[in-house]
């Protein structure tokens, strides 16, 4: 049976510490994925998730039980991640370092290996393009494209108007198109077709 986050949150708000532990189980992986997509850095994402849970624990009294808990919780995560990016002076280094950790397929000259190499190269370009986006746009792309939130849910999470989410997503997509360029985009489409 699916666990209802709102019910867990209400129980935790009522003083049930076990419910908080259960909330961690429910949300930690999703929090981590969102933070990672925004930051591009595993260690930073872990820190953000930890800080987010601590903040949720301290601020649970502020949660309006009539509102959606996940929206409130993801708002905390995205805000912390965005704040971290703004503070972070070594962001590019972190991305570059992580990019170097990606597996290489340099020795594999089979068709499959070549596709993997091409995919890896394109992935690097995509990550670089995402890195160029302002933090707020990264957050919206992460929530929408990778986590599948509706635009309305993202508006709740980001605490802004629905139209603002739409325009932010639009700006992000337009920037990505410009950064990636037609050749990369067509290669990405083609290689996804192969996959």
């Amino acid at each position: 049976m699916a666990i209802d986050p709102e019910e867990l949150a209400r129980r935790f708000q009522g003083g049930d510490d076990q419910a908080f532990a259960d909330l961690i189980d429910v949300f930690q992986e999703r929090f981590y994925r969102v933070a990672y997509r925004i930051l591009g850095d595993a260690d930073g994402a872990l820190d953000v998730v930890q800080d987010a849970f601590v903040k949720l624990h301290k601020s649970i009294g502020q949660w309006d039980a009539d509102s959606k808990f996940s929206s409130w919780a993801f708002r905390v995560v995205t805000n912390l991640a965005i704040d971290r990016i703004r503070r972070q002076t070594r962001e590019r280094k972190a991305w570059e370092q992580r990019a170097q950790e990606e597996p290489a397929y340099l020795d594999d000259t089979t068709d499959r290996g070549l596709v993997a190499q091409e995919r890896q190269r394109l992935l690097g370009e995509v990550k670089a393009a995402i890195e160029e986006l302002p933090p707020g746009q990264r957050a919206v792309v992460a929530l929408r494209h990778y986590e599948g939130f509706t635009l309305k849910e993202i508006a709740d999470i980001r605490g802004c108007a629905l139209g603002t989410v739409k325009s932010t997503l639009h700006q992000a997509f337009r920037s990505l198109r410009n950064s990636l360029g037609p050749q990369t985009l067509s290669r990405a489409t083609a290689i996804q077709g192969v996959a």
Binding site: G44, Q50, V54, R90, K127, L151, K166, H170, F173
Partner: protein
């Protein structure tokens, strides 16, 4: 009614003369019969706001509004992108507010004459279910200054979203173009699951006091703290306690476990999680025999204790002086300076930094005089220094010494003119003339 009558009444409207609601209705009904006439069209557009305002007084304002729509659509049909919509010059805030009001259907707010017709043109297009063609959308967006790089007046918050919400989220992207971007994003299909995630729950519960803390691994800072960790490692070596070697001093823990424990304690302390750090350090004291190790750990414990006492002072000035004294008097304390630095980073808002460091304006710019030892000064980022300099500049301004304030801003700019802080310093410097 002939054309002369109509032009006369349009002129009356243009110059603000009040017409009765009946006269307005007559004007509108007359206009609805007119053929497309460029000259007359300009006059109609020039009085659109007056028609709006006056129509509210009519017993049947909806009818009037409908008539006006017909009129304006008639004189503007077919919709010509760029003709009525594209504004050549950026709108000033007042004009933007007018556009916002227009788009919010606030008829009571008069429109700037230069914007007459814009609202109708936009509404006529966006109210239809069918989205605008890309080129028309782009022009609407440009006309409304919706480009992302154009700062919006606060009153216009939501305008961009409101318009684009009606136009569609991908206003300038065709579905095929959007699909290409999505395909590219899909390449990043997996996020590696770090080992640390397994321990996260325990760390969180320990941190919020919902679980025992002893021996809990806190966190392993990544690249962000890379340089700090390197600095700490160098310092440890300098103290004769290389991480790989000291754990061989014997005791109840094996070497790798002891090293991990020490790292955990160090990282915890550097991140201000002192209770966890102390628990781990004490565990080392209980299980290790190497006198060098014991001495180092005792020093860290003592400095942490003093640092916590210093930080507990309620008076900010007293607090920072105590911290400064501690940092100066305990040069062998390795983790506390980094904890101090990280605390500064966490308190990255200007006010917090000010409360931490910028206490005596007469000592501005001389960071060493603050009692912060070189190893701390060296690991302060340029960004942090810039924030401090800007805060000091503001303090000099408050004290009326603009020369000193300028010096602060100039130095902040020298550190990095292109950063956000550098830009802020430039603005403040420009403001001082």
């Amino acid at each position: 009614m002939d054309r002369t009558w109509l032009e006369t009444h349009l002129a009356l409207l243009r110059y603000g003369d009040e017409l009765s609601a009946e006269q307005v209705a007559q004007v509108l009904e007359h206009l609805a019969q007119l053929p497309d006439d460029a000259d007359l069209r300009a006059q109609v557009e020039g009085v659109g706001n007056a028609l709006d305002a006056l129509s509210l007084e009519h017993p049947h304002p909806e009818r009037l509004r409908s008539l006006k729509e017909e009129v304006l659509l008639a004189v503007q049909a077919p919709f010509a992108p760029g003709e009525a919509v594209v504004a050549a010059e950026p709108l000033d805030p007042a004009e933007r507010a007018q556009v916002e009001a227009a788009l919010n259907l606030a008829d009571e707010v008069p429109l700037h004459p230069g914007l007459a017709g814009l609202r109708e043109a936009v509404l006529a297009q966006v109210s239809a279910d069918a989205p605008l063609p890309a080129d028309e959308r782009a022009q609407v967006e440009a006309a409304l200054n919706l480009a992302a790089d154009v700062p919006l007046h606060p009153r216009l918050a939501g305008l961009r979203g409101a318009v684009l919400g009606r136009l569609g989220p991908e206003a300038e992207l065709s579905s095929a173009e959007q699909a290409e971007v999505e395909a590219a994003l899909d390449l990043w299909d997996e996020v590696p699951r770090p080992v640390g995630l397994d321990a996260l729950k325990g760390r969180v519960l320990a941190e919020v006091g919902a679980a025992p803390q002893g021996g809990q691994l806190l966190r392993f800072p990544g690249a962000f703290l890379g340089s700090l960790l390197a600095a700490a490692a160098v310092a440890l070596v300098a103290c004769g306690i290389a991480l790989g070697g000291w754990a061989n001093g014997g005791g109840g823990l094996n070497a790798s476990h002891a090293v991990a424990l020490k790292r955990t304690a160090d990282f915890a302390a550097m991140n201000g999680r002192f209770e966890i750090a102390e628990a781990n350090y004490r565990l080392i004291l209980e299980t290790q025999a190497d006198p060098r190790v014991l001495e180092q750990v005792r020093q860290e414990l003592a400095s942490i204790r003093d640092y916590r006492v210093a930080q507990s002072a309620t008076d900010p000035l007293q607090r920072q002086r105590q911290v400064a004294t501690l940092l100066r008097d305990k040069p062998n304390a390795l983790v506390v300076p980094i904890a101090f630095y990280n605390d500064l980073n966490r308190r990255s808002t200007a006010a917090a930094v000010q409360s931490q460091l910028a206490f005596d304006p007469s000592r501005a710019l001389r960071f060493d005089d603050l009692g912060v030892p070189d190893n701390v000064r060296d690991i302060l980022t340029d960004s942090t220094l810039q924030v401090i300099l800007i805060q000091q500049g503001l303090r000099w301004e408050e004290l009326g010494d603009l020369t000193q304030a300028k010096t602060c801003y100039e130095r902040a700019i020298e550190l990095d003119a292109e950063s956000a802080e550098g830009q802020q310093a430039k603005l403040r410097l420009a403001r001082l003339g």
